[in-house]
């Protein structure tokens, strides 16, 4: 309970921006030469270069989505797709350049590692700058490294799994991602190995007018388990930045994966991120997601329940303030009998912010005796804000239990009055109510992220009331 009691706020730590220093910055826009240049810079093996070039063709052949938030501000020609920071991959925190280190130190990385993590990876702009993992996990055969190293050192694994869970032609930004991806994390947990403390990666985009296209590939082999935490942030620039990451998760039979994310991008970010998990027999994937920053988000993690008895839970919260359009949700495909999914989504909007819960539940004909329960709740802090729920349910068998519950409400003046009568200012009262609304989600987050989330709520509400 103490974790929702944080009152000290310092928005500055998210807005620190360093001088835009880089060793190499590619020309703006996207064409074959650029993709080849990226591939050369990264020393790609031939097969990876081919994936990139094919993806570029796919990218050129696909249209922008015609639904959801307006993406017209995003001018692909103006976005430098690849920025390489002045730092090589380090395994000792001391070797990370001072400036980059200060940024992560301020954000509490790797302080978090010292406290409670099994391993940490930190990505600055397009490259992973820091990676470390606990000794005993190495001995058990756990692999946790940056994606480029994985391509070089574990090509057979990467070839088998890269862009297989998320197909390149899934949508335009996936194709873009596959063409220009850079950085990200690779995790392999061998059969039966239980990683009982979380692994964490932290992505930070510092350069203006650039894109971040990190690739996360996690394979939790049969009977193994893992908790992976992903944190994202960027300082605010006037130019639009693009984040089009891709997360591919493979949860093998009887395995367990918990994937926690806090996305706190700056308010000029187009966050068009794609995340999917393929889940085996009696295996389980749990998603815990907090989406706060960005100008536009289109983010719909998907669980594909392919094995009998597979399970998934999605717990997500979205907070849209002024000028933000956050279109988020969850997709689940029940492809086998006795599969189950539980969705608990909450959204908060204020000062004209828009939250949309866009979801898909598909239960295939063979997925008999499957269960799906969806609950989404929205809280609007004023009359200007928007909240929509757009569920698509495609249920092809009768032998299922399915429930969908949606609640949209305004913050209660009676509750605010009650709290103010106890000496709380209007903003304290609202923040307390919002934290209470968010609590079922925040309690699922790792403690330092729950603290960060409450800080963000407080910070957001400070600005809301004059």
């Amino acid at each position: 309970m103490s974790k929702i009691q944080v009152e000290d706020i310092n928005r500055n730590i998210y807005d620190i921006k360093n001088e835009d220093e880089y060793a190499f910055k590619i020309q703006k826009g996207l064409n074959r030469e650029i993709v080849e240049e990226i591939s050369r810079q990264k020393n790609d093996p031939e097969w990876m270069k081919e994936i990139r070039l094919k993806a570029l063709e796919t990218y050129n052949s696909l249209e922008l989505p015609t639904w959801g938030p307006d993406l017209s501000e995003l001018k692909m020609d103006e976005i430098a797709t690849y920025v390489k920071p002045k730092s090589k991959l380090n395994t000792s925190w001391d070797d990370v350049p001072e400036e980059i280190k200060n940024t992560f130190d301020t954000l509490g990385i790797p302080e978090a590692e010292r406290k409670s993590l099994a391993g940490v990876g930190a990505q600055y702009d397009s490259e992973v700058v820091y990676h470390s993992m606990k000794e005993d996990l190495l001995k058990q055969g756990v692999i946790y490294t940056d994606m480029e190293t994985a391509v070089r050192e574990y090509p057979e694994i990467v070839k088998n799994y890269f862009m297989k869970c998320v197909p390149v032609n899934d949508h335009k930004f996936v194709a873009l991602h596959a063409a220009v991806w850079s950085g990200g994390s690779f995790v392999y947990v061998p059969k039966g190995v239980k990683v009982d403390i979380p692994l964490q990666s932290y992505f930070r985009l510092n350069s203006p007018e650039s894109g971040q296209f990190e690739h996360t590939l996690i394979i939790v082999d049969e009977g193994a388990s893992l908790h992976f935490i992903e944190g994202c942030s960027a300082p605010k620039y006037n130019k639009v930045n693009l984040h089009a990451g891709c997360v591919e998760l493979y949860v093998k039979d009887n395995a367990y994966l918990r994937y926690s994310t806090i996305e706190n991008w700056s308010k000029n970010m187009m966050n068009l991120n794609t995340k999917k998990a393929i889940v085996g027999k009696n295996a389980q994937i749990d998603w815990v997601t907090g989406s706060f920053g960005s100008k536009v988000s289109m983010l719909y993690p998907m669980s594909i329940l392919n094995g009998e008895g597979a399970k998934t839970e999605y717990t997500g919260i979205t907070f849209a303030g002024k000028g933000q359009n956050l279109d988020t949700g969850f997709k689940v495909i029940h492809n086998a009998p006795n599969t189950s999914s539980v969705v608990n989504s909450k959204s908060i909007s204020k000062e004209g912010g828009a939250c949309t819960y866009r979801a898909l539940v598909r239960i295939a004909e063979n997925a008999k005796q499957s269960k799906c329960s969806v609950s989404c709740e929205s809280l609007m802090l004023d009359d200007n804000s928007r909240s929509d729920t757009i569920p698509v349910n495609d249920i092809q068998t009768d032998e299922v239990e399915f429930s969908h519950e949606a609640k949209i409400g305004k913050i209660s003046d009676k509750e605010i009055f009650y709290l103010m009568s106890r000496g709380l200012s209007e903003e304290d009262a609202k923040a307390m109510i919002v934290r209470g609304f968010a609590y079922p989600i925040s309690k699922e987050l790792p403690v330092e992220y729950a603290v960060e989330m409450n800080n963000l709520i407080n910070m957001e509400l400070k600005g809301a009331i004059g």
């Binding site: 009691q5 009650y418 103010m420 106890r422 000496g423 200012s425 307390m432 209470g436």
Partner: protein, 244 residues
């Protein structure tokens, strides 16, 4: 004796409707006042107008506390001046434990950090006096509390926040005999010669457990008669018919 609350010729609306039509009331330190009246007389409007509830509007007259006009103060500022109001229907606030809420509110009221260990001990002592289940302080504020538990929680908040003037709006309604005794005990614990209590009620049950200085009869938005505790007895026997 220092004057705490002074309301002069107060007119107030609940929504669009005029409810208070020229109410006068003065409360000094050390006093216990009771405002009684039939349903719809303006009892709740009285409490809510003092507290600047946005659902109510003061249209004329004045409200002063310790000589200061508090009409334009926000609700939290009024609370910080030292006025407390117990609610008829306390709100449920999920996501914060009762103890953490009390600690947070106490910190806001006093503008000083609260020492949690001593504070918790004090809260637990009060709860024992109020026959409250000690586990309630770990539960979210009022969430899933019974009606009686919520009312006792209001009295607990009054004791913890220790205001100069406590306004108890229908605190006794819906309580059984034992709970009324407990609530009265809480009020007696709170009461001293530097503070004051204003009890707003439509029945006289709570008064048999409390020492009362003044009883006011509120009918149709005005105080029509003021007396001592014998006036409450008279109402108990004859009702309000005579004053309507």
């Amino acid at each position: 004796m220092k004057t705490l609350l002074e309301m002069k010729d107060l007119h107030a609306n609940a929504g669009e409707k005029e409810i208070l039509k020229g109410l006068n009331l003065t409360i000094h330190e050390g006093e216990v006042h009771v405002v009684m009246g039939p349903n719809g007389a303006g009892k709740s409007t009285l409490a809510n107008s003092i507290f600047h509830n946005p659902e109510y509007t003061v249209t004329a007259g004045s409200i002063e506390f310790e000589g200061e006009n508090i009409q334009d103060f926000t609700t939290d500022k009024i609370a910080k001046k030292g006025i407390f109001m117990s609610f008829q229907l306390p709100e449920e606030i999920p996501g914060i434990s009762t103890l953490n809420f009390l600690k947070f509110a106490k910190g806001k009221m006093t503008d000083r950090p609260v020492k949690i260990f001593e504070f918790k001990k004090q809260v637990e002592e009060y709860m024992q006096e109020l026959n409250m289940n000690p586990k309630l302080i770990e539960r979210n504020l009022n969430v899933g509390f019974s009606g009686g538990e919520k009312k006792k929680n209001e009295i607990l908040q009054m004791l913890v926040l220790n205001p100069k003037l406590a306004i108890l709006d229908e605190t006794d309604s819906g309580l059984d005999v034992d709970a009324i005794k407990t609530v009265s005990k809480g009020i007696e614990m709170f009461k001293n010669d530097k503070n004051a209590v204003l009890i707003i009620t439509h029945n006289t049950r709570i008064l048999s457990h409390l020492k009362v200085d003044y009883v006011h009869i509120l009918v149709d938005g005005k105080i029509v008669k003021t007396g001592d505790s014998r006036l409450a007895k008279e109402i108990e026997e004859n009702g309000y018919a005579k004053y309507k």
